[in-house]
């Protein structure tokens, strides 16, 4: 209900903005490029958002509007419904809506478009693997997150367990950073966290990460991609966005954004690149 209000309000605002387009200061003609961001990365960093917005605007020649939401689901819904031109989403929602979404680009981290999922616990705790965490209060990032939910759930499914029964209680923090906070504060005994975010945090907020340790790191998984609605796959806007992302390492502003994100750049991968996530999702679904 609330979201609907917000959406319709935004529709009105957009309509007004479109009507006022000639007097509105913008980089170029055409409607604004609406780019959605999930809490995959450190979305709270306002400077990062400003730099990203500036770079994309300059590189695409379009006015860029960055849209952030609390949950993956909200952004995914906006994207699938065409409210957004593109969004940086998680691999899990991407495979869930594969028939309605298309890939724009995949980030490259430490030379590969891959990352891991970590299960973390308190630094002093003795636990060798997931099995030692039975009965914990466990923090997941988001029910639609690959690294923050699906990887751990799939591993449990392989053991014939479900998160709700394996753990005494699960909770969602809607942010990987919050997983670290929840485990560090003791609210949760363990948590599933994005390995990329955890490594970046280790660098930028060592004091936050210090009370925690990695119990187990998963295998390498496809990095959360930038996707667009299937219908926009070959529009000039999407093409411009893809080129802007791929060209980031060549541009000074782009490099600044990449260095803040600790990414090397973007690459193009085939849609099948995300099949392992689809398999994991199927395994979990089968057990549920």
């Amino acid at each position: 209900m609330q979201d609907h209000d917000r959406l319709s309000r935004r529709a009105v605002v957009l309509g007004l903005a479109a009507a006022a387009a000639p007097v509105r200061p913008s980089h170029a003609g055409g409607p604004a490029l609406r780019f959605g961001l999930t809490p995959v990365f450190l979305s709270s960093d306002l400077e990062l958002l400003d730099r990203l917005k500036a770079y994309l605007g300059q590189a695409t020649g379009r006015t860029v509007e960055l849209v952030t939401r609390r949950t993956y689901q909200e952004i995914t819904t906006l994207l699938v419904s065409g409210e957004l031109d593109a969004a940086w989403i998680c691999g899990y929602p991407f495979v869930s809506f594969r028939d309605r979404l298309a890939l724009v680009a995949v980030p490259v981290w430490r030379g590969r478009p891959l990352y891991q999922s970590y299960v973390i616990c308190e630094a002093g705790r003795e636990a060798a693997g997931l099995v030692d965490l039975r009965g914990d209060v466990h923090a997941f990032s988001d029910p639609d997150s690959n690294s923050g939910f699906l990887v751990t759930a799939a591993e449990l499914a392989a053991m014939g367990e479900r998160p709700e029964t394996f753990f005494s209680r699960t909770l969602y923090t809607y942010g990987h950073r919050n997983i670290v906070r929840a485990v560090a504060s003791g609210l949760a005994a363990s948590g599933s966290v994005d390995g990329y975010v955890y490594e970046v945090l280790r660098e930028v907020s060592p004091e936050l990460v210090a009370p925690t340790r990695v119990v187990r790191a998963s295998g390498w998984k496809p990095f959360p991609p930038v996707a667009c609605p299937l219908a926009f796959e070959d529009t000039p806007g999407t093409t411009a966005l893809r080129e802007a992302l791929l060209a980031m390492p060549k541009d000074e502003d782009g490099r600044a954004v990449l260095s803040m994100l600790r990414l090397d750049g973007f690459t193009v991968e085939p849609a099948g690149f995300f099949d392992p996530i689809a398999e994991a999702a199927d395994a979990v679904r089968r057990l549920g």
Partner: protein, 481 residues
């Protein structure tokens, strides 16, 4: 001066003590009021802070509590601990509808799903409960949505700074009140000491005046012309001068009395000398006529000798009594004999039956001249008091410690006034007898003795003089002159 023990504390102590007591009482009452007001203000402040904190929390917590979302609850609590730094929340616990912990600011102490703590920390009371021992205040708030209880917030607030402030205020009050009280007491002590110092001077003067040495206060000691002290000192000086004048008058009167008694005795003494003179002339005639007879000559010369000796005795004792340039010497039997000799004319005139009893062995260390005058005065008074043919008895006893002289008479007894004059409590009367008694009584006191009057077995008055003996070297081994 005898003063009861309760009043023995001097004013310089009593008044500062009183001031200190009053200050302490005022301090205690004022401090109690200040502390009570402080506590009220602090509790109001605490309640305001707690309300602001709980109001803020409950509005943002209702949704996540309804959704049973521990992370968001924790996130809100975590952010609130920074936002509400003034409240100093130590521990905040949010309970779900079932009364279990949904999330707490310290999840390790209150894990998700655990039971809330017991005691004041676990009671969702609306008023802040201050636990002075732990320095914590506890409060709570029930989260209600559409009339239904969906959960509650419990908070432990750090009350230590408030309690510390209270303690500090109490100590400040205690120390400052103590200092003010001590200061006031010291000030009071100095002030009162200054105020009573003239009284102490006056007191010293009065005590000396009681010993018979009334001296005026020198002018430089009299402070202001118009102060109370100045007036008091001047009044005392007037009194001292009056006393000195009275003493001078009494001394003069004593001298006159001495001369008067000489006058009273003069005719008697003339008689004493004249009587033997007739016999002596007869003896001379006898010698002229029968001088060649050995036996007559011898007996006549004996007669002459006795007569001349009698005259010599009378003259000598008179001289001993009235000669002015005398040095003090001890009293002895000869003085007592002289006394009998001196009053013989008076005794003979009224045909009084006189008895002088007692014998002194050696010298008695009492100023002989004064004692002779005392005894002479008393004896003459007795002779005057008794009717023709009455009886007077003088007795004298001395031992190591005291000399006691008693003059009894068969007269009609002393008038009432005389008792008081003798005791020295009445002023000198106008009549001669009164003045004589007063002078006598004063002489006795000068000798350090006492005088009492009573009824005599002879029928009249009995006046007893007691003089304690202090061995005075200046009175020993001195000739009668």
């Amino acid at each position: 001066m005898r003063i009861s023990a309760g009043r023995a504390l001097p004013l310089a102590v009593k008044i500062p003590l009183l001031v200190a007591c009053l200050m302490v009482a005022v301090g205690v009452v004022a401090s109690e009021r200040v502390l009570a007001r402080l506590q009220e203000a602090q509790e109001r402040q605490l309640a305001d802070l707690k309300d602001a904190y709980l109001d803020g929390l409950s509005s943002s917590l209702v949704d996540p509590v309804l959704r049973a979302d521990p992370w968001e609850v924790f996130d809100i609590l975590d952010r609130a601990s920074g936002l509400y730094a003034a409240v100093r929340p130590l521990d905040t616990i949010v309970l779900d509808g079932a009364g279990k912990v949904l999330a707490a600011s310290d999840p390790r102490r209150h894990p998700i799903g655990s039971d809330p703590p017991r005691g004041p920390a676990g009671a969702a009371v609306d008023d802040a409960l201050v636990d002075e021992e732990s320095g914590r205040a506890y409060a709570g708030r029930v989260l209600v949505v559409e009339g239904r209880e969906v959960g509650s917030i419990l908070v432990a607030i750090d009350a230590a700074p408030i309690l510390e402030e209270r303690r500090q205020v109490m100590w400040t009050l205690l120390v400052s009140n103590g200092a003010v009280t001590l200061g006031a007491a010291a000030l009071g002590w100095f002030a009162v000491r200054r105020m009573v110092s003239p009284l102490n001077i006056l007191n010293g003067r009065l005590e000396r005046a009681l010993d018979g040495r009334a001296e005026p206060i020198p002018d430089e000691d009299i402070a202001g012309a118009n102060t109370e002290t100045g007036r008091l000192f001047r009044s005392y000086n007037a009194l001292a001068r009056g006393l000195a004048e009275r003493d001078a008058l009494l001394a003069k009167a004593a001298e006159e009395e001495r001369l008067a008694s000489l006058g009273r005795l003069a005719s008697g003494m003339a008689h004493e000398i004249n009587n033997p003179l007739g016999g002596l002339f007869n003896a001379l005639d006898t010698l002229k006529v029968h001088g060649e007879r050995e036996d007559v000559r011898r007996s006549t010369i004996d007669l002459l000798d006795r007569g001349l000796r009698g005259i010599r005795d009378v003259v000598r004792s008179t001289l001993a009594t009235w000669r002015a340039d005398r040095e003090p010497r001890a009293f002895r039997q000869a003085d007592l004999d002289d006394l009998a000799l001196l009053i013989r004319p008076e005794v003979a005139r009224k045909a009084v039956d006189l008895e002088v009893a007692g014998r002194l062995e050696g010298e008695v260390p009492v100023d002989a001249i004064r004692l002779r005058q005392v005894l002479l005065n008393l004896a003459l008074n007795a002779c005057r008091a008794v009717p023709e043919g009455g009886a007077v008895r003088i007795s004298l006893v001395a031992d190591r410690d005291a000399l006691a002289a008693t003059v009894d008479d068969s007269g009609p007894g002393l008038p009432e006034e005389a008792d008081r004059i003798l005791a020295g409590t009445a002023g000198a009367g106008a009549d001669r007898g009164g003045l004589g008694l007063a002078i006598t009584s004063r002489m006795i006191r000068d000798l350090g003795g006492t005088v009492t009057a009573g009824r005599s077995p002879l029928g009249g008055a009995s006046i007893r003089v007691t003089i304690p003996l202090r061995h005075r070297p200046d009175l020993e081994a001195r000739d009668v002159a």
